[in-house]
């Protein structure tokens, strides 16, 4: 595909069929919801079922035909072109829309295979540019999509001669090339166990249980049962988000960055450029502790944007939904190459902080080495934040009235939008100020080192340039 440059191409002809299938599914869901007996209604599904069957079916048929027509038209007018320097996507019949994505603007390319598309060996490409809405191309034959993805990623890394071989073998079951090095695989028992012990799930379960017990005790179960329906739906949604979409979770090193492949019905394959990672948060809840499980989240530029369709922001800030300490170590070695966060020398906060943080002041540890700043705390639920010096956006020192009385102050390292919030509370005041000043020096040195590394590219194509600076940042 990259060989026939500047040729207009269309997504796969089966696209309208698959999108129509989604519409059909949506209609069935709506009708199904009508048929489910509602809480107070003692005459279930009265509204729709009272219509003659013929009307119902022909109405349904008309909607399906219209939807199919609509998606056919939108498919016909969708074209994409790969140029020397950019990807161009044109859509729309009435309102034309043309989007251009410069290769050096690409932050990451994800390959998504919704269930229906998967049956037809098709896949959708989602291209993140860091500038809000992601660019989507759906659907392409799986092999083409994987090739295009590899090509775009290679170009995004400034690899001009990218002659992409068919190393990437996206299949119906997985998406991995033989050159990929699998770092972590999360097996189903671990995933399901972690889900069953997650606070989210237990809280969702707690409400109906309390309601059930109360209603049985007070003999009002006939009111309580219909009220449970939304809760059951909520649990279903939770299972689909936390288990089904995270099934067969695999983190691999592709040589161009990390790749996350996951999903039971919908297969999603996210690419995660290592140099885009702004910070890492590792945490463990009290219930996970006996099993030694941890969850790993990362701050990634361009992933902070909300996408209502697929709660992507949450899904993609996650590096590992659950992992053992050893798996965490492997994943960290993958996303912070050459850095060992365990080797960072840590210090404690003064004992007088107990007046302000009596519940866990003795567990607070923080420290820095040449590359990263580490902060950890907690004894029941534990948490650890790691921020590379080169990714520090700003440093803050804050002090409230009580802290002033005790001669304490807090230090915050601000990173790009995401789950990581590196903040040490209640350091000694003078230490806090010194730490902040030294952190500025460390960050400056780290940025200078990055610039030196990036400069060997004389073509003025900074390796994965800053998405939010226009034009690409000049290398000073």
């Amino acid at each position: 595909m990259p060989n026939d440059v500047a040729k207009e191409q269309r997504p796969h002809p089966a696209t309208p069929l698959i999108r129509g299938w989604i519409v059909l599914l949506a209609i069935l869901v709506v009708i199904g919801r009508e048929l489910i007996p509602k809480g107070g209604d003692d005459d279930p599904g009265k509204g729709l079922l009272s219509l003659p069957l013929v009307w119902l079916l022909s109405g349904l048929g008309a909607i399906v035909v219209l939807a199919a027509l609509g998606s056919f038209v939108s498919w016909w007018f969708t074209k994409y072109v790969i140029d020397a320097n950019e990807l161009r996507i044109e859509t729309g019949m009435m309102t034309k829309r043309s989007r251009r994505v410069g290769f050096n603007r690409i932050q990451s390319v994800d390959l998504v295979q919704p269930f229906a598309a998967r049956l037809f060996s098709l896949a959708e490409l989602r291209i993140e540019t860091g500038g809000g809405e992601s660019v989507k191309i759906h659907y392409l034959p799986r092999q083409d999509a994987a090739r295009l993805r590899d090509y775009l990623l290679a170009r995004a890394h400034g690899d001009h001669t990218a002659e992409v071989t068919t190393a990437s073998t996206a299949s119906a079951l997985t998406d991995a090339a033989h050159t990929d090095k699998v770092i972590v695989t999360i097996n189903p028992p671990q995933l399901i166990g972690a889900f069953l012990l997650s606070g989210e799930f237990l809280l969702t379960l707690l409400f109906p249980l309390v309601a059930l017990v109360l209603s049985v005790v007070f003999h009002v179960w006939f009111i309580a049962i219909p009220a449970l329906l939304p809760v059951i739906l909520g649990i279903g949604g939770l299972i689909s988000r936390r288990v089904i979409s995270q099934f067969n979770y695999q983190l691999a090193d592709t040589g161009h960055g990390l790749r996350i492949t996951r999903g039971l019905t919908n297969l999603t394959s996210q690419s995660l450029p290592v140099d885009r990672i702004q910070g890492v948060r590792i945490r463990q809840s009290a219930l996970w502790r006996p099993f030694g499980w941890w969850r790993v989240d990362v701050d990634v530029v361009g992933y902070g944007h909300q996408d209502q369709n697929s709660n992507r922001s949450e899904a993609s800030s996650m590096l590992l939904p659950v992992a053992s300490a050893e798996q965490v170590r492997l994943a960290l070695a993958g996303c912070l190459p050459g850095i060992d966060p365990d080797a960072v020398p840590l210090t404690t906060i003064p004992r007088r902080a107990r007046w302000l943080q009596w519940w866990n002041f003795w567990t607070v540890r923080y420290g820095v080495d040449a590359a990263v700043a580490v902060h950890e705390l907690g004894w029941l639920a534990r948490r650890r934040d790691i921020v590379p010096h080169a990714k520090t956006q700003s440093v803050r020192v804050t002090r409230g009235p009580l802290q002033r009385r005790l001669g304490l102050a807090s230090v915050h390292l601000d990173t790009a939008k995401g789950p990581v919030d590196w903040a040490v509370d209640h350091l000694d005041g003078t230490t806090a100020r010194e730490f902040a000043a030294e952190q500025m020096d460390r960050a400056r040195a780290a940025r200078a080192a990055l610039r030196r590394d990036a400069s060997p590219d004389p073509a003025g194509n900074p390796v994965l340039s800053d998405p939010t600076l226009e034009p690409p940042a000049p290398c000073a």
């Binding site: 990714k391 700003s394 803050r396 902040a436 500025m440």
Partner: protein, 173 residues
């Protein structure tokens, strides 16, 4: 440290200026702060007070709400002078420093190279008092580098200076 600093907040080594003195902001910003505080507290107290008074005839509760609001407002107005004097900024070789607050003090240090946007805004009240607010935006939503109460020409000069410094020192994220 000197007796002249009696009006400014007690010197605190943790929030000492990095190098030379803090650049103060314009004292005209006191008017902006006082007026906007007054407007806010009048609105915050009047809505529930009038609701209770007009709908339920509970004017005595309304009077308590207004009274409490007046006390809080008066105590806030007394602090306006100190709060405005507590703002300060300093331009160092590579970083911008901003400090503010008297009860809850804060000091932010931002490398110029982290600049995404520099915004200068001035609302109607600020324009009437001839001041403007400069905001230094980075990729982090937590970066607290806003300098209010700058004379407009000073704000424009600072904006251009920061933009220039930001461009020459820009680094990828």
């Amino acid at each position: 440290m000197t007796p002249t600093s009696a009006t400014s907040p007690a010197p605190d080594p943790v929030f000492a200026p990095p190098g030379e003195e803090w650049h103060p902001i314009s004292l005209r910003y006191r008017t902006v702060m006082a007026v906007s505080m007054t407007i806010t507290w009048v609105l915050v107290t009047s809505v529930p007070a009038l609701f209770l008074g007009l709908v339920f005839g509970l004017w005595w509760i309304a009077a308590i709400i207004w009274g409490a609001g007046a006390v809080i407002l008066a105590s806030q107005l007394l602090l306006v002078n100190r709060r405005v004097r507590a703002w300060g900024y300093a331009l160092r070789e590579d970083d911008l420093y901003v400090t503010h607050g008297i009860m809850f003090r804060s000091l932010t240090a931002v490398p110029y190279g982290r600049m995404q946007v520099v915004e200068v805004t001035a609302g109607p009240l600020e324009r009437a008092c001839k001041v403007a607010t400069l905001k230094f935006v980075t990729a982090s939503p937590h970066t607290d580098a806003t300098i209010p109460g700058l004379p407009p020409e000073e704000a424009a000069r600072l904006r251009d200076r920061l933009t220039e410094l930001g461009e020459t020192r820009a680094t990828g994220l």
